[in-house]
């Protein structure tokens, strides 16, 4: 059975590594990008089952990525989980309105990731 694929977007290497290690240990194939613009191009070209995206990134913020990704033909159903150090309700609401599948406030832990993914049935 083909591995599930996740796209990880975060401009901080440490965050990308942490999330990658988690998903590799759960049998995922991972693709990472440190830049939302490159991440969007990758999302458009390749197949993914899940996306984890930071919100605060240069060039293309996570919310810009989310808005653009949801418009990619045939890929609107792919769950996109947002990661952010911003715990304010306004940002959470914006993410939900744009179609985010979940919103995890940093610092993230394995427990938070599992809790966000449970309703998605991907683990």
């Amino acid at each position: 059975m083909a591995k599930k694929r996740i796209l990880i977007l975060d401009d901080m290497a440490m965050n990308r590594s942490f999330i990658k290690v988690f998903f590799v240990s759960h049998g995922f194939e991972t693709v990472t990008a440190e830049d939302g613009l490159v991440g969007l191009e990758t999302f458009q070209k390749e197949t993914f089952d899940l996306v984890f995206s930071d919100i605060e990134m240069p060039n293309l913020t996570g919310l810009e990525f989310l808005k653009a990704a949801k418009k990619v033909p045939g890929k609107g159903h792919i769950p996109i989980v947002m990661l952010s150090s911003l715990a304010d309700e306004a940002t959470k609401t914006r993410a939900q309105t744009l179609g985010a599948a979940a919103y995890i406030v940093k610092p993230f832990t394995e427990e938070k990731i599992q809790e966000a993914l449970k309703p998605l049935g991907l683990l």
């Binding site: 290497a13 440490m14 830049d35 613009l37 240069p58 919310l63 810009e64 808005k67 610092p107 993230f108």
Partner: protein, 371 residues
Amino acid sequence: MSDTFSLQEALDNLESALLALEKTLHTGAPAGELVHQIFRLAHSLKGAVGLENLGGCIPVLHAFESAFDHIRKGQGTLVPGLLDQGFKTVDFMNGVLSSGNPSEAQAQEFLAQFSALGVPQAPKVLDLGMDISREERTHWDRALAQGMKVWKIEKTLSAGLTAAQLPKLPIWATLGELGVVIAQHPQAHQLESLTGERLLRILFASTLTRQQLEEEIFDPFMEAHLPPQGPVSRDQKPVKILVVEDEFSTQVLLKKLLADFGPVEVAGDGLTGWEKFLEAQKAGQGFDFIILDMMMPKKNGAEFLADLRAWEESQGILGLDRCKIVINSAVGEMDVVKKAFVDQADGYLVKPLTQEKIRKALVRFQLWGQV
């Protein structure tokens, strides 16, 4: 980007940035990029400490990050007390790295110090942080006359973003749907010459309300106002520049330094330079300013200069109407420079070349507005 991250290294970098910022308070040098750098370092540290089980200091780093976020967005000003608090935060964090998470009482006591400082409100007149041309000012006035408001958006650009990628950012399509872009800085061709943190500033006009814009724009933005006396705007036409230089590295450097002033053409030897000069004259688009190397193959700088001035004289182009020509020289070449003056150069630029030296030369020749 390396996959390793050292908290201590990040903390050391933060302290260095604070020291550099402290220096600017004495010298009056621009501090905007340092404020951005400090914000980003604090933000990175805050993200990293959580992964190192040092989450007890996150509120302290969040307070520090927020203070500098307010300043970079124009919502607060840097006060000396805040800078001192920044150094105290570094000391606090060094203590955390050696002793582990602070107690809640320790964190709260430290947070109280931030609260006591407050962050003063920004003055009503917003520092645009960018020049706008007369044409852009006309667009701004027209937008206001049509009942639009003008907003300033700031977006952080990564170090790796290229000039080709800048126009492809989705922000442009978004703004096109919501209103009209009046001005941007940097332009794509200026991107490579930016140093430090790269910040894209966009002036944008729209009839939509702030609330409506917040649903579509996800970068920090604020209403922009022109100061009553007028901005650092300039009635400025681009300066058409010819660089006659055979050394490749100097060509590259000059292209970068000159990009802000206007279109630049480069000739790698005196003969090509001469041909370009004549072509431009025939097309009715003569060069305003020439930077000339003296030691070149095929036609050296002295020959180029003599031929150019003779041509101008034959065309009745005299005095202040002549093309402004400066010699690009090293300190040890002053005899060459003196002779070039006799042969009718207008000035000289001594290496190492900087944008400021070029700007001063252009201002002196009245090719560039006073700033």
